[in-house]
């Protein structure tokens, strides 16, 4: 066969070369490459012009590739559609086929380029597949022409340089190409093997975590069952749809929001809250927020633009996607909600890989403005905006209006209860005077509130006031102020609402969750500190909706407290605007449950 083509080349010259290379590129079982090596060798003996050969070889290959592409487009696409309808893929599952088609669409450019000069044997099938998958022709042509430039240059060049031994030189290139291919395949298999082994181990951990979370849900459900049932046997398990809420343990507000959603939806669904990220993330965040606060601020600011947010999310998705996939496979949720921007994109990518996609909901967390990383993924099924400001920002960032809902910011049940009656009792139990102006000061569980300076500044004011200091798990802070007069130190407690409700003013870091809990308890909020960048828009939000005051300097805080102690009207005025906002938020929250029901149906 080769002798026939080489003879044809010798006999008919350039036209023969053009036709044979074109047919080979179109997918015919002919080695057009071999002919180019031979032509290069003949050119070395002045039997052909090397420049003309290059032009002929290049144009023929591009034309042949184009022909195969159009054949694939004309006949391949309907054939694939027909096979998909008939589902006659007996040797391979339809889902696997779909995944490989999706994979091809993503990697088509490289596949086209490489198969022109490196894995030449795949050139024909890839041309056909690109056409069948309706890969844009302009893009196909660009990658094809780039690849064929090398595809013509390499064999012609090698043939020309090693003229008398071109066939042996071709064998060397072929052998090295086979070696590279085998090496690449081994590398891919090695990576797959390592990943699968790691996934196998990780799967056991995830299973244990999911089991634990499911047991918790079942226990909560059992505790809610009416006690009148005489049947002492184990209650029959009623299959309820499972909702998976993905969070990140970097910051407490996201978890609070997830818990609020869980309480809201828990009566009708099994709601599991899971953090798909490595515990390393949580430990790093805690360390940074306590010791290197500016780093968090820089990270927030530097990634708060489209390009950096896209890069950040893709890096995180690369690390977390497999983990999230496994988690979803294990939980088998009917709906996924995410309350943290940094797991949102990985969740969307993992969801894409599933055999059956699950509805995905993004619950935005902040009040005044969102970080751009929330908007990298624009194809979730629903986006829940907690405020009008966030709703407007999401719309501006291109979130489809039909997927965007203004639902307010839900809070945990304890913050919705009327606790006014228990105020005096709570303060007495804490050893404080119910008649005195009381400040609830948040210590910040992660220690980022810079609370010591604030507390000491408040105590220095020459007016009667007392402080409930929520120290969380910060033992150092608790120990430092444990024996101070007019200060009651509150260790970590899950039921924080009664203590906040017992105060007249809630003070602390301007976190979205904390501000919401304050206005839901109808208490004015005093913002004394913030994570710059991330929480800066919350300050404007507080002032705009008259939910409290912003006093970041100690002197400003002292002046305000002095005024509040002397004029109770100031507090009353603030409470009336807070009530109005609370009423709006409560009403907006009513939209969440019907929306979830609709998504699940």
């Amino acid at each position: 066969m080769n002798s026939f083509f080489i003879t044809a080349l010798q006999q008919y010259g350039y036209p023969a070369l053009w036709v044979i290379v074109c047919i080979a590129a179109a997918g015919a079982p002919v080695s057009g490459n071999l002919l180019l090596y031979a032509a290069g060798a003949f050119a070395a003996f002045d039997e052909f012009n090397i420049y003309v050969l290059f032009f002929v070889g290049f144009s023929a290959a591009v034309a042949g590739d184009g022909l195969a592409y159009w054949l694939g487009r004309k006949f391949g696409a309907p054939l694939l559609a027909w096979l998909a309808r008939k589902q006659r893929w007996r040797f391979i599952s339809f889902a696997a086929l779909e995944r490989s088609r999706t994979y091809f669409r993503r990697r088509a450019a490289w596949a086209i380029f490489i198969s022109r000069f490196f894995i030449v044997v795949l050139g024909g099938p890839i041309n056909w597949l690109a056409g069948a998958e309706r890969y844009p022709y302009r893009r196909f042509l660009i990658w094809d022409a780039s690849g064929q430039f090398l595809g013509a240059l390499i064999p012609l060049g090698v043939g020309y340089i090693f003229a008398t031994s071109w066939s042996e030189a071709e064998s060397i290139l072929g052998a090295f190409s086979s070696f590279a291919l085998a090496f690449l395949a081994t590398l891919i298999i090695s990576i797959a093997l390592v990943r699968r082994m790691r996934a196998h181990k990780r799967s056991a951990v995830i299973k244990a975590r999911v089991l634990l979370a499911q047991t918790e849900v079942q226990s909560e459900l059992a505790a809610q069952q009416p006690a009148e049932s005489d049947d002492t046997s184990a209650p029959a398990k009623i299959a309820r749809p499972t909702i998976l809420i993905l969070i990140s343990h970097s910051g407490g507000g996201h978890l609070n929001l997830a818990q609020a959603l869980k309480e809201m939806l828990g009566s009708a669904y099994d709601v599991l809250i899971m953090d798909p990220q490595s515990p390393f993330i949580e430990r790093s965040y805690t360390l940074l927020s306590r010791r290197f606060m500016p780093f968090l601020t820089w990270q927030f600011t530097l990634t708060d633009n489209k390009i950096a947010a896209w890069l950040l999310q893709n890096c995180l998705a690369f690390v977390d996607r497999q983990h999230v996939s496994q988690l979803i496979e294990e939980v088998q949720p009917r709906l996924i909600i995410t309350t943290h921007a940094l797991v949102s994109y990985a969740a969307a990518r993992a969801n894409e890989q599933l055999r059956q996609r699950v509805p995905l909901v993004f619950q935005f967390t902040d009040l005044g403005r969102l970080h751009m990383s929330w908007f990298v993924e624009k194809h979730a099924d629903a986006y829940l905006a907690p405020t009008r400001e966030i709703f407007a920002q999401a719309a501006r960032q291109g979130i489809a209006r039909e997927c965007l809902y203004l639902t307010g910011r839900p809070v945990r049940g304890q913050f919705s209860r009327d606790l006014a009656a228990s105020r005096a009792e709570t303060l007495s139990n804490l050893g404080l005077d119910p008649a005195c102006l009381t400040i609830f000061l948040q210590g910040g569980a992660k220690g980022s509130a810079g609370v010591a300076q604030t507390l000491e500044g408040m105590l220095a004011v020459n007016v009667p006031l007392q402080i409930i200091l929520a120290a969380g798990d910060n033992a150092e802070l608790a120990g430092r102020y444990a024996n101070l007069e007019r200060v009651s130190v509150l260790p970590f407690t899950a039921e924080l609402a009664p203590f906040m409700a017992a105060a007249d003013v809630i003070a602390g870091k301007a976190g979205a969750s904390f501000i919401t809990e304050a206005f839901m308890l109808e208490k004015p909020f005093l913002a004394t500190s913030l994570i710059a960048g991330q929480e800066t828009p919350s300050l404007r939000f507080i002032e705009q909706h008259e939910l409290g005051w912003v006093c970041l300097q100690t002197t400003a805080q002292q002046e305000l407290l002095a005024k509040l102690a002397s004029n109770s009207e100031l507090l009353a005025e603030k409470v009336s605007s807070i009530r109005a906002y609370k009423a709006w938020n409560v009403e907006a929250n009513q939209a969440i449950q019907p929306l979830i029901e609709r998504l699940l149906s």
Partner: protein
Amino acid sequence: MSERVKLIFLYVLWLLALAIVALSAANALQTVKDFQQENTATKAGDVNTIRPWMTIHVISHVYHVPEDYLNNSLHIVMQSSDRAHGATLYQLASRQHMSLDRFVETVKQVIRAYRKEHISSSLSSPPPLFAVLLSGETKE
């Protein structure tokens, strides 16, 4: 298919891939050696490196034998369909109704004869093809 079976399958595949890598590496090294030998032999003018794709023009250049001498010895007549530098040995063998191997062997004999003649510096005209074949000089 259970996860364990998938892992075992992948492990076997990995071993197989490693074996293929080793084999292809050995093959690549062998082709390099073959190439070196072939190249050295061609440069030394070894007639065993003559290949069927070569034309008389190419053979003349590589083995330093005048093109006319080769054409005359092999009784090659240019045809109208031939390009400027003639036909390949495939084509020539076919025209002379000879097997390719036999024709290539004949070419080798002609080259050897030319070299012999020029070492002994005697003959002015090349011997005809069949004279070469019948003269018993087919073996060196």
